[in-house]
Symmetry: C3
Subunit: 502 residues, 3 copies
Amino acid sequence: MKRATLQLDPRRQVAPVRPRLFGSFVEHLGRCVYTGIYEPGHPTADGDGFRTDVLALVRELGATTVRYPGGNFVSSYRWEDGIGPVEQRPARLDLAWHSLETNAVGVDEFMRWAGKAGIEPIMAVNLGTRGVEAALDLLEYTNHRGGSHYAELRRANGVDKPYGIRMWCLGNEMDGPWQVGRRSASEYGRLAGQTASAMRRFDPGLELVACGSSHSGMPTFGDWERDVLMEAYDQVDYISLHAYYHQAGDDLASFLASAEDMDRYIDSVVAIADAVGAVKRSRKKIMISFDEWNVWYQRAAASVPPSGEDWPVAPRLLEDRYNLADAVVVGGLLISLLRHSDRVTAACQAQLVNVIAPIMTEPGGPAWRQTIFHPFAQTARHAKGVVLDARPAGSTVDTARFGEVGAVDAVATWDEQARGGTVFLVNRDTSEEAEVTVEVTGETVEVVECATVSGPDPYVDNTLDAPDRVRPLPNDRVTRSDTGLTVTLPPVSWTILRWAAA
Amino acid sequence: MKRATLQLDPRRQVAPVRPRLFGSFVEHLGRCVYTGIYEPGHPTADGDGFRTDVLALVRELGATTVRYPGGNFVSSYRWEDGIGPVEQRPARLDLAWHSLETNAVGVDEFMRWAGKAGIEPIMAVNLGTRGVEAALDLLEYTNHRGGSHYAELRRANGVDKPYGIRMWCLGNEMDGPWQVGRRSASEYGRLAGQTASAMRRFDPGLELVACGSSHSGMPTFGDWERDVLMEAYDQVDYISLHAYYHQAGDDLASFLASAEDMDRYIDSVVAIADAVGAVKRSRKKIMISFDEWNVWYQRAAASVPPSGEDWPVAPRLLEDRYNLADAVVVGGLLISLLRHSDRVTAACQAQLVNVIAPIMTEPGGPAWRQTIFHPFAQTARHAKGVVLDARPAGSTVDTARFGEVGAVDAVATWDEQARGGTVFLVNRDTSEEAEVTVEVTGETVEVVECATVSGPDPYVDNTLDAPDRVRPLPNDRVTRSDTGLTVTLPPVSWTILRWAAA
Amino acid sequence: MKRATLQLDPRRQVAPVRPRLFGSFVEHLGRCVYTGIYEPGHPTADGDGFRTDVLALVRELGATTVRYPGGNFVSSYRWEDGIGPVEQRPARLDLAWHSLETNAVGVDEFMRWAGKAGIEPIMAVNLGTRGVEAALDLLEYTNHRGGSHYAELRRANGVDKPYGIRMWCLGNEMDGPWQVGRRSASEYGRLAGQTASAMRRFDPGLELVACGSSHSGMPTFGDWERDVLMEAYDQVDYISLHAYYHQAGDDLASFLASAEDMDRYIDSVVAIADAVGAVKRSRKKIMISFDEWNVWYQRAAASVPPSGEDWPVAPRLLEDRYNLADAVVVGGLLISLLRHSDRVTAACQAQLVNVIAPIMTEPGGPAWRQTIFHPFAQTARHAKGVVLDARPAGSTVDTARFGEVGAVDAVATWDEQARGGTVFLVNRDTSEEAEVTVEVTGETVEVVECATVSGPDPYVDNTLDAPDRVRPLPNDRVTRSDTGLTVTLPPVSWTILRWAAA
């Protein structure tokens, strides 16, 4: 039996819970768009061709924002291919995913869907094959009222009111050798600064994201962030982080502790950004947009794009099947993101449907929830108010990759108005239960709800035919003491514990 | 009473008076074009929509060249928006001035106007959002006889003969953070060199201007010029200088001595350019195009562009109202430019109509002359022949910004053919008269004309209703002696003294 | 009498003979395309307007590949100008050669011609005024089966099957001040890497050529190659070399030894490329594409492009007339290329027709062979199998430019299957004959054929009226000994000696 203690003090706060922390990502990749969110002719499709079964799951998931249209896809995308009469739109080779893009869905369709889903769009501009001019044109198309060429074009396309998109990504993973139009850090930094500066002449209030490294293992990691920010610090608001995790071999223990890596990655980029700010004598702080994160078995066959003469439309690609351990890791990563709410003010799980996604669909068939759906949905729904400054202390587990780490990881939020709090917990021990004592300074505590995602086999997954094998079930092993609550967590489990101040 | 002496020797010459020194500037900004030079429906409008009252004033002003179409405007301009049937031209957001550009006036309209005004165009290409290809296309459109795509397009648009534009600006103020497409000095230098080199393949005789610093106070001033010229020395003929002056607080004395700053700025850039030439072992000298200069109250409300959702067509913007002191300063700046005629071989007062301009208009109403109109018009008309190598010596005034400077500043020209000379003088003392003795070596001198712009209140201005409060009046306080002429200048005054050799 | 010995051992091999060593070059320059390969209305023109007399000579020449469409021409070329209905194609100014390009021939016409000529195309993309996007569009147009915009456009233009072009040049001579869009080495290297990397996402198997120096005398030679390869080593397969030779003054001896320069040039670039590979710890070797080489009297009047208002269609330009000495030099350069077959795996004689070309035409009139046609044709036909590792030893001649060099230069190939070999020889002595002994280890040798290009006057040329003055004639001065063959070469001569193993 592992043991840990979490001491909460509602006055010791990290930052407000940012709604944008629960963002997602829709890329023109595989079946995320086509037969994912969009499938005219599907029994549940609405008049616009959007699957309402998927829309219902997106709302249940609680995604707040969606980044669009890429990802690697954006780096050779011509946004104007996707507007106007569908039958006149050109089909294009998508070099990022070796697929054929019909352009049946473009910015107007996406925005209509976003409205139905109740999500805020985060739009990416192409800084691979294009630059300032095309970014300004798109911005005018989406955000200008009327009277000018592209604004009138949008109106002619049936959208009278501008979309008012606030948050924009300046390209995608521009440090990656795989990226169309990859640049050096300084060149990209200048292009990002140029683009940002020009976009702000249209609207100074836009929130702009510069590309950080594609992941923390890139050979240029760190230098890239510094060089980009040296060029563009004053022009941008965010720098992006991307990270994907998977179990290497049979090393379940390290995999369960993936949040340790995320913690360090965030802390590192914050330090690099603040160091640039110091050199620049700037009072401004660059925020983190962790706009791609998830579990992803990148080396699996499902992740290998088509090749040769095969340029399919919306192939099955990156359709990872998630198990219980993956769900526990996703829950742990959400704990890491929440813990850094002072600097991580936007994050996007990659991706929303079918492509390394919480929601799966069959063409013409049902939509269902993967295991990772549940911790995301619960966290998005119940992380309210402020994040508290508290980390669990107690037993450790040994990991090959991170050494000794806490067996239990957790983060807590506190909603002053509702006078209630929520604790999100993972037990990262692969075999032992963990008993966690939650103490709340100055409050008498009552349990509202406790639910746990666990099971005897960490590798059990949800499938089309058995879509509910892994899901949260009530956890009745909670007891109340003088100083707080004690909850017992099964091995390899994720738990939400909601309490109210008496 | 201040005193000064000016010793002239017609054999000691600086350089010929260059007609291009009296250039002006028409940018798509505020009401310079629309309701400025162009206002169809105005009572004086000709068949092309050009105000003939403005045309008459432009001719009276004596502007020799006009830079067009920007300025900051050019950095996101697509020149082809402004050609062809007007009703098919797209309206564009102008991000430089937060205005809506209808494109009713484009290069063909401007060239037609320039023909009527008798001015030489100086055309600027967009090196902000664009590069070599668009510059070449415009050059082909304006300067190629026929047979090729864009030349035939011009002919189809009704202009059979090519315009033969000689002088071209390679972008505008590319060092400015406000500039769409701002670049580093080396990157801009390479782009300018590339563009220049390609344009010369069409016509080696073009005269090409690289952008220098936006003003001498830029943090990169000096380094910028050096780095740009290190990249583009062989490809360009000119480097640009821009400077605007205004009275800071109640410091009239420093303001009246603004030409001191212009002198130093020119000398500095000449030194920097020649130093690059030395490193390059080049015999070529880079000339100065002082293609934006004037008095401008940049911090005044009139200079604040619209913002937010307000994207007006041709708003009232930068419509500075000039007083007597401003006119004396403009006269002094012209003295500085003339004095540097060996290196400053082109200059453009910014701008021509309504926008920090000598000529003002009311939509549907009259056009009138600001105070600064007069020294410009007189200097442009009477500076003929060669500039003489002479500076006044005598009493000084104390200024907060420049220390001790001559109370009187002056420059003299000599027209060998007409056997006559002209002296341009300013008295920069704020309260005392100045007596100036002009001695001419080897010539017996007769007064032809003496006129002075002055008045009891340096802050009196011209207005729509009282457009002639400040203007040149005959000055009868000139006496002739054995060695020359003596003229008395009121405080805060500008004077032209024309003489003939007996 | 000069003497030399060449010791051959069929087991000591350099590399296979690469068919691409016998490439040629068709640029939109002068009359290479129009009235060269293409002349509708010519008595021999086929239904597509191609001259069948020229096609026959191209086949006789044995050119294996043709680089297209430039050369300098490509650096402002818009490939889409050359597709679709001919009457809708725009006429463009070609700034490279101050000519008017009608675009009557474009990529589809060229590919049709290449099919008829049996040659493999080497396509160049415009990295002067354009970048990644246009390169990808052209690649899609030429190489993609169908379904996407540009592939369907090709099909709509009547070409159902993709061309499958394998080898692509990433721009042309981007270090040259004369080049539209010239860049610095690092900037070009990054652009080339970007473009290559994006093109490989379409097809990883493409063979891509980065531009080396325009010639070995460029001030940036060596540094250019290193800097470009430091940026693009992993993305490209080839680096290009260009070299043109001519007789300077009356120095025939140095001219005849031009292959010495080519040898050194190749060796230098190989060393530079391998040094970059060493720094990068790469096992990959960069190959040499010697994609412009020939004799060219660059300073002759025939090489001066039109100027001023003169923008002719297909003018007579670079129509060098070749003499015997030129043919001997061309033969010598082919020996140098063959000798380096381990690294020079592609080469293009510049150019194919009319423009410094082996084949000449008269508009409406005949086509004929210049002197340089013959060594190229013979070498292309008879260099089969493998290149042997052998260099002649013996008498020397003194040259002003290269010092003491072998009087005889030679290279040998061996065709294991046919059990026969060929020796290519030049006698570079200007007055003496040379007696060459060819010894073949382990084989008994029989003469199959010996032919020589020579004559009493090294400056005699072929002309329209006397097109056969210089051509190979049987050489009967070959004797057989115990150890091999002995052949006598006239001064200033090129010889092919074919033998068979008994």
